[in-house]
Amino acid sequence: MTARRLVPGVVATLLAAAAVCVLPYFLSDTHEYRFAFVATFFIAALGLQILTGYAGQISLGHGGFMLVGAYVTTILSVDHGWNDLSTIPLAGLFAGVLGFLFGFPALRLRGVYLALATFAIPIALIALAKKYSDFTGGGGGKPLTRVLTGHEAYVTTWPIAGGMFVLGWLLLSGKLGRAFRTIRESEIAAVSSGINLALTKTLAFGISAFFAGVAGSLYAIIIGFVNPDTFQIELSLLLLIGVVVGGLGSLVGVVVGALFIEYVRLYAPEILSWVEAPFGSPLDPKRAGAPAAVYGLILLVVLFISPSGAAGLLRNAYKSLARRAYTLRRT
């Protein structure tokens, strides 16, 4: 990659980092709290981006690995007296190992079969969490030791999110990242150039599960409470939708995806009332189910208009600007 092609990505990253540092001075406590959720979705979606956007494998079950991370943190901090923040690496590691073990059989398969198998991860894990209730608190949930304010949540999550972003970027710019991209483009080409297909795919799965585990751990810490039903299949689908809307294969696009996941839920009634205004629908946009309908609708629209997501739109805009600047200089 030449230095010139790196410029837009670096600029976007620096702008995003600056925004994250400055935002707490402008946001209310409620919105800081919301942004802490954005950070956790950002971390989980980063992991999914590595798997789907770079290694080209679909997972419909990353919410399940968030559940694992959340419970590792809860159990260690509540039952064993650990400091909740110091459980984060372990939560990630535990989820990562689980992902690696799961990926081991599942990733010997081509895309569709993998997606099929991953669909069952959150459902199976939720059933397990509910069954072993003396360990996990069961369906009623389990409170953590403390509850964070919006500002505390913000300053806890975003530095970790930044660290995970750098980690992801370093991983992907090295040899492993190149192997991932080769697998995405052509498995046959990857094998013929000496890449161990099963191992590399499983590694991608494990690494992305690690990210999801860290995100789940933070999720539990900022809510101060875990419940298996938080990690229903909808959460996993939402993560994937966020990644696609942000743009597959773009790390910076994940920020857009994470904002999308958190804020569409908030603004779904407004969005629907614009859509409905010309038809005068009898349905109340504030009712349950409306946000999901909006998420699905937006994803479909994105697939039709810009399959490469928000990042693709930005990239195209940058390219046409650069081209215009170039032609202007020539004339």
Partner: protein, 296 residues
Amino acid sequence: MAEFIQQVVAGLGDGAIYASLALALVLIYRATHVINFAQGEMGMFSTYIAWALITHHGWSFWPTFVFTLGISFLGGFGIHQAVIRPLQRAGELTVVMATIALLVMLSGLASWIWQPDEKVLDSPLVGGTWSVGTVAIPQQAVYDLLVVLGCVVVLWALFNFTKLGLALRASAVNPAASRLLGVRVPWMLSIGWGFAAVLSAIAGLLAASAQFVFTPTFMQVVIIYAFAAAVLGGIESPVGAVIGGLTLGVTINLLGTYLPGQITPDMRLPVALAILLLVLVFRPSGLLGRTLVRRV
């Protein structure tokens, strides 16, 4: 022994529902080489339409059943024409994401339109038991099995003995050659999607009858069993899907009966997942599937 037979019959009944949905997945996979993740939610949506007709408009069950299947056919046809066909050229991942968008949208729409609380489907397919000697055979299971097998036979006859069936198969096997011979391939693929929607509507109606109450998420469990069944039988084999569904239904019921301590109802899904993974490890192409050889 009596309990064993009873559990096998009950398992076949559950299995018939999985088989119906698995067959829908296989039909779509053969026609468009995509896994339709929205398949279960399409069945769920059809079930809600039937429920609304029966509860709010006073229809009786069987006319509603037929009408719902018709609506579902049109729905499946329309989804292929409006969403899948235009995106097909953009690649596999885009189409898979489109089916996920449909999944989320349909489940959102259902709880938005009809509220997410529990509904009861007024269905004649809920029954008591027939006593054969000491064995109490659940009528429900027999009905499910008969309805699904009936549909399978109709579909099989349609695919094998009619000109439409020939065109449908030709479009799936070799679209380019079919087009040269004058088959309207996109229409045929849409008809395949329509049939798949009908099968998932049947699965939805039967599952809703079997569970007494249903919510917008009731097909999520069924679709996972159906995935497992389809993979078990080999994702390209219709016969495999039916056998896979029935086998899975019986296996889970028997495990639930004879290993009661470990396999409570909520533990059935992890068991199904384990079966799925085991099959994938030892026979990646399923029990009746062919090993795919790809040319470099």
